[in-house]
Symmetry: C2
């Protein structure tokens, strides 16, 4: 008999019919002898409906009130799911962030969890009642409602699983797990039964469609096994767990991820003096703009080009900030490009398999795809390429690494 946290996403809760299906999943888990704590997102479409109501009033909303507004979405689905379970004679009670209380810091719209007392939930479980926790929300030290950022219900669920020392945290949504690539782009993409926290974090761009990536960091920190399942049926699922000791059994490359979220900025002909990078990037840091890849060309006659990427949604703001810096550093000009994508290969075997990078670059070159920028980590290889080649690159790299079948280190030696 295990203690299981089950989180259900908005698409799993969209209608009364969906709620009944979810209630049956919970009932089945309970009938198998497990204790269940449930975490819910807002019903599909509800958060957007609330955002639209606010947007009709004004473009800039005070964060405290936005949180009070948006947190109702999860409150509604928690109450409705409790009603559904009770109608099936399964005792259930909804709990808000304010009621647990799930204590966070003061940062409205992107609060971080500070403390999560479990006495009330433990007592509810002891009485045979299933707690249905409204995800996404908490309460600040001042007693105000806070939210954990879009997709924050996943983080609520993992935090609850950690606090309750649950045996696992299940993330139920409309996807049945992690694949070696986006099946819509790459028909040969293979479902993965198991992936490490580290790989999932490096797959952030793909993973974000499945769960809030912050929840994976939290799961890794507290060693909470995550299970990705579909609430729409089927037996497939993906475990997100710690890396195994014996990596010989692991795949070298677990997946190929294509990200459309990047835009590139190049500061052309900067005098190559110390402190240039700081002068260009510090205004962006102050504006909370996340800079991903950075390259600086070799200096030619005392000048260099300085290139970096930012999230595409931040391009306009980043351009304005960098334009202001251009005259101060005597650079010639700024050029920007949002017609790029980032293609990444992620896998635990990369660090033990030095030939992988070379084969990746060679394969892209063979297809006539120019690599504009490169960045790497122990378990990730990323290239910025022209956007139109994105899907092609996914397919050729998927084939290169043999991802349609299980691949391990031996197959690369």
């Amino acid at each position: 008999m295990a203690l299981i946290v089950q989180k259900f996403g908005g698409s799993s809760l969209a209608t009364a019919e969906h709620l009944r299906r979810v209630a049956h999943i919970i009932a089945r888990t309970r009938n198998n002898g497990h204790s269940v704590v449930v975490v819910v997102s807002a019903m599909g479409g509800e958060t957007d409906r609330l955002l639209n109501l606010a947007a009709e009033i004004t473009a800039v909303q005070p964060p405290r009130e936005l949180d009070a507004l948006l947190s109702t979405g999860e409150q509604v689905s928690a109450a409705l799911l409790a009603i559904t379970l009770e109608s099936m004679k399964i005792p259930a009670r909804s709990y808000l962030g304010l009621q647990l209380p799930l204590r966070t810091d003061y940062n409205h719209t992107r609060a971080r969890i500070v403390e999560l007392p479990t006495e009330q939930l433990q007592e509810t479980l002891t009485r045979g009642i299933i707690p249905i926790v409204a995800g996404f929300q908490g309460v600040s030290p001042g007693g105000d409602i806070t939210t954990l950022g879009r997709g924050g219900s996943d983080t609520s669920a993992v935090a609850l699983a950690a606090a309750l020392r649950a045996d696992r945290c299940e993330i139920h949504s409309d996807v049945d797990g992690v694949y070696t690539a986006d099946p819509a782009i790459c028909p040969r993409a293979r479902h993965l039964r198991r992936i490490s926290y580290g790989e999932m974090l490096e797959m952030a761009d793909m993973g974000a469609k499945i769960l809030q990536i912050r929840s994976v960091e939290l799961a890794r920190k507290f060693k909470v096994p995550l299970l990705i399942k579909s609430s729409f049926g089927g037996d497939r699922c993906t475990w997100i767990v710690e890396e195994e000791e014996n990596e010989m059994e692991s795949a070298v490359i677990s997946g190929i991820i294509l990200s459309h979220n990047e835009a590139k900025l190049s500061v052309i002909r900067v005098p190559d003096r110390p402190g240039i990078a700081y002068q260009i990037l510090s205004p962006l840091a102050e504006a909370d703009i996340n800079v991903d890849m950075i390259i600086q060309n070799a200096s030619i006659d005392g000048h260099t080009d300085f290139t970096f990427t930012v999230p595409k949604s931040e391009l306009t703001k980043a351009r304005e900030l960098v334009e202001e810096v251009i005259p101060k550093i005597d650079a010639r000009e700024l050029s920007t490009d949002d017609g790029i994508v980032k293609i990444s290969a992620v896998g635990l075997g990369i660090k033990n398999c030095p030939g992988v990078a070379a084969r990746m670059f060679q394969t892209l070159a063979d297809e006539g795809i120019n690599i504009q920028m490169i960045s790497t980590s122990d378990i990730r290889l990323s290239c910025v390429i022209e956007a139109k080649y994105g899907e092609l690159a996914v397919r050729v790299l998927h084939d290169l690494f043999g991802l349609e079948k299980n691949n391990n280190l031996d197959s690369f030696r």
Copy 2:
């Protein structure tokens, strides 16, 4: 400079446009030098939307979860109104029942207020911030969300006004006050500028369209002057206040009210023994069915007929309960009638003007309207009549008492 509680109903908050209009009313009050505390209902249609979501799942919802669900309606409008005011550079903050906290008893869906601390609101006011309180909701001693019954935001507003010792409580809705009769039925109905708490309570059936009648009891208890206004413009309003000492100035009859909410049950040929009324009515009391008028005919050969009214919505349930009693008390049969209405004349002058009742009965008789039941209080005369005569009765009684113009005791002597 006064402290004013302003309550806005759902129809005043239906869209972004409505919210802006309400924000301007609040701003104007503030610019006139007053301190304002705002209480809001759910946006028009929202409570029904939430009830429908629950009804799609099951017909019988656990009250605790229903309260958690419905309370989101007021939370949404409080947050949106705070957003609207902030967008106009007027500092505002929303507060939930859980946050104040507005403490109630354990009675979900019809909780009573137990305690209402005001420190937080006082501090907010001191800082020049307008508190926007989500009406209708509170928190039980166990920390669960409770609600005060349909229309409960009015009661929230009056309770806040009492706790804060506010100078007045304004109820803004889509009606501009109390009339001598429903203008839709009686074209000569006149707007009343002033009415006593007692008269308003006796006008419950008409008053309930304007505000939760419980809030009038609370206002009377704590001597909170109530002001009924329209948020859709116009200068008309009705004060609901204490009776004046000099009643000579008061109208004898303030209004004629027609209620369609009654249904009649007659237990035919009951053996006339002591305890009959108790045996018939106690099952209804246990089922929380409110019995209004009761008459028992004079006994003929040891038998009597026992007739009473209940809310029309409770007729089916009441019929079942009384059918069970029939054999136990050896009554012949139960007959029921939902084709009736109750017509009432309400006014402070009734108790000083004995001829009023006789004139009322005479006037109805002159129109060929049979009076089936009569009940009276110090300030109310009510008759049950056949439903089809309801509107006619309103008009003839309105004329009889000269309500189209100010009428006072002298005019009756």
